[in-house]
Amino acid sequence: MRDRVTILALLLPALLVMFVSGVIPASFVAFYSLHDTFAGNSFVWVGPQWYLSVLSSSEFWWALARSFSFSALVLLIEVPLGIFIALRMPASGPWATVLIVLLAIPLLAPQIVVGYLFKVLTSPGIGLLHALFDAVGLGYDMNNPVVVWASLLLMDAWHWTSLVVLLCYAGLRAIPQAYYQAARIDGAGPWAIFRHIQLPRLRLVLLIAILLRLMDSFMIYAEAYVVTRGGPGVSTTFLSHELIQTATIQFDLGEGGAMSILYLLIIAVISWAFFTLIVPQRDQAA
């Protein structure tokens, strides 16, 4: 009994804060999604109408497909690259600290700064990236969706690969030296060490890195918007752009709410899948 009181007391501050900043606004979204509003203050129950209209809108499905593809590409680029760099980092010493500091700089760049930076880098006449594309004969055409996607992926990789590197680096430091000695006695090469020792021990950090990257790239907004304004055409109009357009620019709270809830369902399924992968391992993996 006393234990329960202690647990509750320990959890209470966090639960209160999460109630205010998470549960309440999320319930508002659920409420919007089932109601229609005229002036934003009188609401009429409309049932699943908004869901049906979102699910039958091709813009929603295309935006969803683009967001999925973007996240998939982000993970395919950033996770292997991040692991590779982390494996090559020195274990300790002044160089390790210098590298950590430099790696963390892009992480702390505000989204607007990142977007602005890459907008300038890809601008004709003044941008380094633009000049680089021209110099190797590829030509930089902002009307070509492939080129635009490549720059967004490059931007995201610049901003966020360091997160994967730092998390994996931390995970690698937690592997006891004895594991490596045992592997060396068994005559294991670098690949075998990676495959059978490092990768399994990185599972936990990799999964959280994947979750964070997945979610943040899935709802990328400001950075991509500054660089491309969703174009050319709608080729870089992602889910969050669609959502912001609907909910705050057209002030269509119901449709925006329904879109948000659908997004949450998708994210909940993916997160649950990852979570069940992580948590049974939590105890041994430490």
Binding site: T6, V17, A26, W95, V101, P110, A170, M219, A268
Partner: protein, 267 residues
């Protein structure tokens, strides 16, 4: 293994720093030079842009505002997450798993989703354009993350320590203050670092919940970019100054960060 340096991280970091160098170089150029074609370093060092930003409160208050709400957010996030993380780490209560996952789900929500309700709630409360509004809004993604990180660090400490502290007569509060917090100080630094990072870079909520008095630099930059599309040099200087607080933080906590990372179990 120790201290061995290989070429890959050096090349990678050099590539990371190239755009940063580019940005810094542009911030010292004049617009005439930027418009006149590619130059790899500023030919006429101009400090005008920095002078303008650092003397005009409409500009520099943007940094101050952002730092204020970020610091409030970090303090709230870490201080409520610490006891919760301890509970999750040490007690196997009913609904433990579901609650932990439920909290994690909020980290998976995006600012875009909660934007409309936050605007409505904070308008109703009369809190639009206050630092506290942004700080509280940012809690939905930072509190779960801080709990997650701290839980990892606390779980790395053997439970025997709790018991011997109890035998020594420490209550929960005194145990946390005297024993737990000093033990996991690097973990707290790592958690604070990540909270600072995600709050500092966030744009959508921070911009939508503020108008003048609490407007972060990112919002001021967007406004300036809309009005004077041409002033690349000025916006570059504003961007460089936007990188500085983060850089100072990293340099300031680098030792803790390195220890935190080497304690393993970051997450």
């Amino acid at each position: 293994m120790k201290g061995r340096m290989s070429i890959a991280p050096l090349v990678y970091v050099a590539l990371l720093m190239t755009p940063v160098y580019w940005l810094v170089a542009m911030s010292f150029k004049t617009n005439a030079e930027i418009g006149g074609g590619l130059t790899f370093y500023p030919h006429s060092m101009s400090l005008e842009n920095y002078a303008l930003i650092l003397t005009d409160p409409d500009w520099y208050m943007g940094y101050v505002n952002a730092i204020i709400y970020v610091v409030i957010n970090v303090v709230i996030s870490v201080s409520v997450a610490l006891p919760a993380a301890y509970a999750f780490s040490r007690h196997d209560f009913f609904g433990h798993r579901a609650l932990f996952f439920g909290l994690l789900m909020f980290r998976m929500m995006a600012p875009a989703i909660l934007l409309a309700p936050f605007v409505q709630i904070f308008s109703d409360l009369g809190l639009i354009d206050t630092h506290i509004a942004v700080a509280v809004a940012h809690c939905f993604f930072n509190v779960p993350l801080a709990i997650w990180i701290l839980e990892g660090f606390i779980s790395a400490i053997p439970r025997e320590m709790d018991e011997s502290a109890r035998i020594d007569g420490h209550g929960v509060v005194s145990f946390m203050r005297r024993i737990l917090i000093p033990q996991i100080a690097p973990g707290i630094a790592v958690a604070a670092f990540f909270c600072f990072m995600f709050s500092w870079i966030e744009y959508m909520l921070a911009n939508a919940l503020t108008t003048v008095d609490a407007k972060p630099i990112a919002g001021i930059m967007t406004r300036a970019a809309g009005v004077m599309t041409g002033d690349i040099a000025l916006l570059s200087a504003a961007s460089v100054l936007g990188l500085l607080p983060g850089l100072l933080l990293i340099i300031f906590v680098r030792k803790h960060l390195a220890t935190g990372f080497s304690m393993g179990r970051v997450i």
